[in-house]
């Protein structure tokens, strides 16, 4: 996984709650056995609607998706974060995320930033008014700043601190391979296996 430190760029506003992973990556694309090539399929069915935000050229190069609460609910499909990332999003900002989705994002290096509903709304308004507005998310400092496109060096129009759990932060910053990290403790795992009751079932 590539390390994540600072994400900068413009925002795509998608003002809906409860967006499920079936919408983010519909089932017909889950048949692929590769890990790449999902970007073009993201929000596939919604993209058939001309007024869908990602069909609006002004948001074409957005690197941050700003959206509603409980984002990524439903199916555990990691194809959803793969698709968002391969489409070009480096971070998602929302009032809340579904648990499995958030975990999947952490392992693939897609930054989930949780903010209170108020600031998220202000970001959405800003992105609508000024599609080229610039966002800067600083993971080491855990801050987010948005500036108007007319005043890129000016004062931040939205400035928020966000929290992220220490372990996820480390994973993202260092781009760690969690499996390698776990396998360091091979002896602890083997020791645990010695202690397991022998009536537990096996599939063999």
């Amino acid at each position: 996984m590539r390390p994540v430190r600072v994400v900068t760029g413009s925002m795509a506003p998608l003002d809906r709650g409860d967006i499920d992973t079936d919408q983010i990556m519909p089932k017909q694309f889950l048949k692929r056995i590769e890990r790449t090539g999902f970007g073009q399929f993201v929000f596939h069915d919604w993209r058939a609607q001309p007024d869908f935000v990602l069909n609006d050229e002004r948001y074409a190069g957005a690197s941050v998706l700003v959206t509603g609460p409980n984002f990524g609910c439903g199916s555990s499909r990691e194809h959803a974060p793969w698709g968002l990332q391969q489409y070009g999003f480096e971070a998602i900002v929302a009032p809340s995320f579904a648990d499995i989705f958030r975990g999947n994002c952490a392992t693939v290096g897609l930054l989930c930033v949780e903010l209170a509903p108020g600031p998220v709304e202000r970001l959405i308004e800003l992105a609508r008014r000024d599609p080229a507005a610039r966002l800067r998310i600083d993971l080491p400092r855990q801050t987010l700043e948005a500036r108007g496109s007319d005043a890129p060096g000016g004062p931040a129009l939205v400035r928020e601190a966000f929290s992220v759990d220490a372990f996820t932060k480390r994973l993202l910053l260092e781009g760690l391979d969690e499996i390698a990290l776990t396998l360091v403790d091979d002896r602890a795992i083997a020791g645990y296996e010695q202690r397991r009751p022998d009536w537990l079932p096996t599939t063999g």
């Binding site: 079936d22 890990r35 439903g74 499995i100 795992i189 296996e193």
Partner: protein
């Protein structure tokens, strides 16, 4: 470990901690890892790229379910991509020594069916699978999580999973479910009550009289849909119902091992005085057969009621969008909603008890003229059992299609899908936009309600249909 009173979830958690470090999630041992064809190919590929093996193939079990056609299993799979994905699973299982219930196996079935059927799902275990409905296994008093593909790879390589400690939530359902009101109606009501993210970050323990009197099948239906309330997992305390279900199953302990296991399982209770972070209490005697009207499982109404008008809901904007997608105006009586299709299947409601309950309503009746109805048993053992009881004849005589087991129209990765605009009474768990086919409209109901709707061509109260 501590002597302080603990919940079941804490007890299971504590006994599975392999490594605990300050500022890191706990590393938990995984007792059973279930695998299916959709979320595993990239995980196996990751192992190959890193030169890693599967640590415990003997704690891993694979099945094919999402892509399998539900027509004659001897025929080749027409969809090339589906075939390629299933071939990949077979090849991966062969290479890494993982047991597979392949198409054609008499034990094949939906991934959440096979564990309980084989007696592999037992109280006190940790169970994971690259599938959000892994919460189903919590019905046995196990701690069962859905995970993503990177985590599947992690578990394959290390038989462990790092997880932060969840919050603890109790959903206590007191009173008795009225006749004709099912586990499905109970969980739809819970999801409506706490919301699509009401369980986020939490393990839900379902408690109370109404839960305790459910069969194992009913408990699986309830725990299955924990994820629709955003919960990390859902579970029910193991009891005599659990033990009776397990006894004699192929992989359940036997003889002295059974006694040892039983002693252990009996300790899996939430101690007096144990603390939950959140408690929700509901009265089952008020529940009714339920029908979802919108595009999240939380949007539902009793069959005796009406579809709400957007302005009467918590989030009018969201309700308006959902109603527009569903082709409803809001305000209509639930029993005025006409349907085109009926799907009796999925890991929520395609166990033998579900088919029996539906067959009881269908018996002697006739599927309405313009309705196409199908039954897709959740697994091969269920299909064989149903056929030995003659249920398939009840269904086919009434005009239902009797299919081969698989996920089928629950998500439509195989050819079983809705056409745009088609309206379906479905016993599955998700009514998301396009879930059963692009533009398809899904109403989630119990098997009894689905059966009654098939005959009437619209939703009717199954309590009057028997």
């Amino acid at each position: 470990m501590t002597d302080a009173p603990r919940t079941i979830a804490e007890k299971i958690w504590d006994r599975h901690v392999v490594r605990r470090r300050q500022g890191e999630p706990d590393l938990l041992y995984v007792d059973l890892h279930l695998v299916h064809e959709v979320t595993s190919p990239q995980a196996f590929e990751g192992l190959r790229l890193a030169g890693r093996g599967v640590r415990r193939p003997d704690l891993t079990l694979a099945t094919m379910d999402h892509n399998v056609p539900t027509t004659d299993r001897r025929l080749p799979v027409a969809d090339e991509l589906s075939a390629r994905q299933m071939d990949a699973l077979a090849a991966n299982c062969a290479q890494f020594g993982v047991r597979l219930f392949d198409r054609g196996s008499d034990r094949q079935g939906i991934v959440h069916m096979i564990g309980p059927e084989q007696g592999l799902t037992q109280p006190g275990m940790t169970i994971v699978c690259g599938d959000s409905h892994t919460s189903t296994h919590g019905a046995f008093g196990a701690l069962a999580f859905g995970i993503g593909t990177s985590q599947v790879e992690h578990v394959l390589a290390a038989q462990t999973l790092s997880q932060s400690r969840p919050g603890l939530m109790a959903v206590e359902v007191d009173g008795e479910l009225p006749l004709g009101v099912t586990a499905k109606d109970l969980i739809l009501r819970v999801v409506a009550e706490i919301g699509t993210d009401g369980g986020a970050g939490h393990v839900i323990e379902y408690r109370g009289e109404a839960v305790g009197s459910l069969s194992m099948e009913g408990r699986m239906t309830v725990c299955n849909m924990s994820i629709e309330a955003g919960a990390r997992a859902g579970l029910v305390a193991p009891d005599e119902t659990t033990f009776a279900y397990l006894k004699g199953r192929p992989r359940a302990p036997q003889g002295a091992a059974w006694d040892a296991a039983l002693e252990d399982w009996r300790g899996l209770v939430t101690d007096e005085g144990a603390r939950f972070d959140r408690v929700v209490r509901l009265d089952a005697s008020m529940f009714e057969p339920t029908v979802t009207w919108g595009t999240t499982p939380a949007m539902s109404a009793p069959v005796t009621g009406r579809v709400p008008r957007p302005e009467d809901t918590r989030d009018p904007e969201q309700a308006r969008r959902a109603l527009a997608y569903m082709g409803l105006a809001g305000g209509e009586a639930v029993t005025d909603i006409r349907i085109d299709r009926v799907f009796l299947g999925s890991c929520t409601n395609a166990r033998i008890e579900d088919l029996r309950a539906a067959a009881e309503i269908v018996a002697g009746g006739r599927v309405a003229d313009d309705v196409r109805a199908m039954v897709v048993p959740g697994s091969y053992p269920v299909k064989l059992q149903a056929e030995s009881e003659g249920l398939h004849e009840v269904f086919t005589a009434a005009g239902f299609e009797w299919r081969e087991p698989g996920c089928s129209m629950c998500l439509g990765m195989n050819p079983d899908i809705l056409a745009p605009g088609e309206r379906c009474a479905s016993t599955s768990n998700r009514n998301f936009e396009g879930r059963q086919g692009r533009g398809g409209r899904t109403h989630l109901v119990s098997p009894e309600m689905a059966a009654a709707a098939a005959l009437a061509g619209r939703f009717v109260d199954c309590r009057g249909a028997r």
